[in-house]
């Protein structure tokens, strides 16, 4: 547990130190990110060798204390967060086009990492509310770094995020009033499918869906993610929306009464399919590059929501692995895509998709990163996205009554292929390329490529990875 605590405290102390010294030192943040990554890896090794651990904060007995729970999946998420944070920090420190270098990006991103780690570790309904508040505020402050044009989207994000927190809190209050406990493991033994519990779970789900931008509560996301600075967009899409999703998963797979989960599952799965289709459709239509990537986040979260809904409905723990593979693959691919998109649009001096004409010639590495990450989003074998989709499809293919879901997934795949190839086809139109305003920044392009390569590399270790994930999720 010491390692996990270190992964939690290092970013927080770094942020406080930076603020105290009024320092905006990128190298320092990179250094402490490396330390956090090491701590997270150590936690992962610890949890794999000696099993799940839990820590009662303040050493108080069972129902009184807030409990930290270090499961394999938690440790994996700690590592994933540290990895993405490190990558984006290197990008923010090194890229010529990154506008966040001399801003409060550094302490804010550290606070963001700290609050995410607090969220992964916690297993207490009210503590999750506080971490959600932290996460939301940090994200809003980061979006506002873009300057005046981002104030509108940032304010919308703030108001919706606060509203969502209150709806979630109302659900938590009802649960506390009904069962008198807040710890999710204690709750799991007590819940019954009565009216109060049902309303409480629906309220919490509603709040979390709004926070995670799950369809139909996603409307704030494209503007907020598209108007943020590039490094921030990558953090938001890859990490922040996964926080509420994690809570949603733990609520429904651990604490919710089975009847209620079976009853609510199809609704979530249908919302997931709708997200896939409508989010994808918007990504196909938008004229702006970053909006395209942001809408693709809405669409891709549909897969995760669908996996969650179906695992609730069929009570199939095998889908847990699919859900978390989606989260990992999407996080990596989206970090890559946003960094590449940010570099492309800054170098070309235009935010339009149409400005990408001929970029395979002018900026081949960045475009390749975009296309490779897009391949994983579509689910082309042998990428991480393909693995996740295969895990999701596998239990459905055998039974013909599940084929409507299969049709939804395939249609979603077709649309994702549509919006990725829309960009790629334009990039191969080399007859009349749009000339870049600046000399391309090779280092940043290769940095964008890195997570895309990792996500394809997941396929190489697919067998042990799937076995580990299936064993890791309870």
């Amino acid at each position: 547990m010491t390692a996990a605590l270190a992964a939690l405290l290092i970013p927080l102390f770094t942020a406080l130190g930076l603020l105290l010294l009024r320092s905006r030192s990128g190298p320092l943040v990179i250094l402490t990110s490396l330390a956090t990554l090491a701590a997270a890896c150590w936690a992962l090794v610890e949890v794999t060798t000696s099993g799940p651990q839990s820590l009662h904060l303040g050493d108080w007995p069972e129902p009184l204390a807030i409990r930290f729970q270090l499961q394999p999946i938690t440790a994996l998420l700690l590592v994933f967060t540290a990895l993405i944070h490190l990558l984006v920090a290197v990008y923010a420190a090194r890229s010529r086009h990154c506008r966040t270098r001399d801003t409060d990006y550094w302490p804010l991103s550290c606070l963001l990492q700290g609050s995410l780690n607090a969220l992964w570790l916690s297993s207490d309904l009210f503590n999750w509310y506080v971490t959600l508040e932290l996460l939301g505020l940090a994200a809003v402050a980061l979006v506002a770094l873009s300057g005046r044009k981002a104030y509108g989207p940032a304010l919308n994000y703030l108001l919706l995020s606060l509203g969502a927190s209150l709806v979630y809190l109302l659900g938590v209050a009802l649960i506390y009033g009904r069962y008198g406990v807040l710890d999710i493991t204690l709750l799991a033994t007590q819940t019954e499918a009565d009216q109060s519990t049902r309303v409480a779970f629906w309220l919490m789900t509603l709040g979390l869906m709004l926070k995670a931008a799950l369809w139909p509560l996603h409307l704030w996301l494209p503007k907020a993610h598209a108007s943020a600075p590039t490094a921030v967009s990558a953090l938001l899409s890859a990490l922040v929306v996964k926080g509420p999703l994690f809570i949603l998963w733990r609520l429904w797979s651990e604490a919710a009464p089975v009847e209620l989960a079976i009853e609510t599952g199809p609704l979530l799965a249908i919302a997931g399919v709708a997200a896939l289709l409508l989010g994808g459709w918007s990504a196909l239509r938008t004229p702006w590059l970053k909006s395209l990537v942001a809408y693709s986040t809405v669409a891709q979260l549909g897969y995760a929501l669908m996996a969650l809904g179906l695992l609730m409905h069929w009570q199939l723990p095998a889908l847990d692995a699919a859900l978390w593979l989606f989260v990992l693959a999407h996080g990596l691919a989206k970090a890559s895509m946003f960094l590449a998109a940010g570099e492309l649009q800054a170098t070309l001096g235009s935010k339009r998709v149409s400005a990408l004409r001929g970029t395979t010639e002018t900026m081949p590495v960045a475009m390749f990163a975009f296309a490779v990450a897009g391949g994983s989003l579509i689910g082309l074998p042998p990428s991480g996205g393909f693995l996740a989709k295969w895990m999701l499809l596998e239990p459905m293919l055998g039974q013909s009554e599940h084929w409507p879901w299969v049709a939804g997934i395939l249609l979603g795949t077709l649309i994702s292929a549509g919006y990725v190839f829309r960009v790629v086809a334009l990039a191969f139109d080399r007859a009349d390329p749009v000339p870049p305003d600046f000399k391309p920044d090779r280092f940043a392009h290769w940095l964008a490529m890195l997570p895309a390569l990792v996500v394809w590399g997941l396929a190489l270790v697919s067998q042990p990875l799937i076995a580990w994930l299936t064993g890791a999720t309870p």
Binding site: A65, G114, V199
Partner: protein
């Protein structure tokens, strides 16, 4: 019995009336003033419900501080940009019809959920009462906030810090500096020592009775803002090292306590035997100062350095 019902009934009616008035009054300024009144009434209702801690917090933060922040925001908005709610007579009532129906529906669903809730105290409350002796403070609310669930409070301090950081990212707008009239000057000189006294008292009382860091911090902030507005206090901003030290001190000290308790083997945020009382007081003092300065900075803003 009957006069208690009368009091509660009129409070309930009054708060509903005030809520409607806040939403439908014509000028933004009047709306803010009504909102402050709404907060004070809400504090009264918390007190009637037997939750004096919540009442204090609501009065200090919900009514006082939020009201001041809203007024400060209004003062910084140019008149041309103020979207005063346009009153369009009957059409407005027609438009709010669906909202009323929706609200009633939600109210009905919530009522169905709340009514069957059990009356008896929960397992957590019983456990808290059982361990109160070991908590280092006599007041159960403070024991929960700073010992049993100290991690929540630590994160709440970070929330406040982040709120300040978010406001810091916005470009500065010129605050108007109104002349302080003589009565305000004299009155502030009189109030300031009293506010410090009451703030300290609230903080100290927190260990045995309702009160605590958040209420004391909000009160101290109110005093500092008053003095700053009348120019009796020199300007303070993020570029002052002492301001940064005090703002960050609350979180930093709390985190350090967590770190050292873990290091010394007691467990993360587990105060060593016999140290709980003094440590809680120290944390509360650091938190109070941090809250006071952060809230002051939020309201009077920093006029000098924002970026760069």
């Amino acid at each position: 019995m009957i006069h208690e019902w009368l009091l509660d009934g009129s409070l309930a009616l009054l708060i509903l009336t005030l809520a409607v008035a806040v939403l439908y009054v014509r000028s933004l300024y009047a709306s803010i003033v009504l909102f402050i009144a709404f907060g004070l009434l809400l504090a009264l209702i918390w007190a009637r419900l037997g939750a004096p801690d919540l009442a204090l917090a609501e009065a200090a933060i919900g009514a006082g501080l939020t009201g001041t922040l809203l007024l400060a925001a209004l003062g910084r908005t140019p008149v041309s940009q103020r979207a005063e709610p346009a009153f369009s007579g009957a059409r407005q009532y027609v438009r709010s019809g669906p909202a009323v129906v929706l609200s009633l529906l939600i109210f009905w669903i919530l009522l169905q959920a709340v009514l069957p809730l059990p009356e008896q105290s929960s397992a957590v409350v019983r456990a808290a009462e059982q361990h109160l002796d070991a908590a280092g403070v006599a007041h159960p609310v403070t024991a929960v906030l700073l010992n049993f669930r100290a991690w929540d409070t630590l994160l709440e301090l970070l929330v406040l810090l982040l709120a300040f950081m978010a406001v810091r990212q916005l470009l500065p707008s010129l605050p108007r500096a109104p002349e302080a009239w003589p009565l305000l000057l004299g009155w502030s000189c009189l109030l300031a020592p009293l506010i410090i006294l009451i703030g300290g008292y609230l903080l100290w009382r927190g260990s045995s009775d309702p009160g605590g860091a958040f209420q004391a911090g909000a009160l101290l902030a109110a005093g500092a803002i008053l003095l700053r507005l009348t120019d009796l206090l020199p300007a303070m901003g993020w570029h002052h090292a002492w301001v940064r030290l005090l703002v960050l001190g609350g979180c930093a000290f709390f985190l350090l306590v967590g770190l050292f308790t873990h290091w010394l083997g007691a467990g993360f945020l587990a105060y060593p035997e016999g140290w709980a009382g003094p440590l809680i007081i120290l944390i509360e003092v650091a938190a109070t100062l941090s809250i006071a300065i952060t809230l002051t900075l939020l309201v009077i803003g920093e006029t000098r350095e924002v970026r760069g």
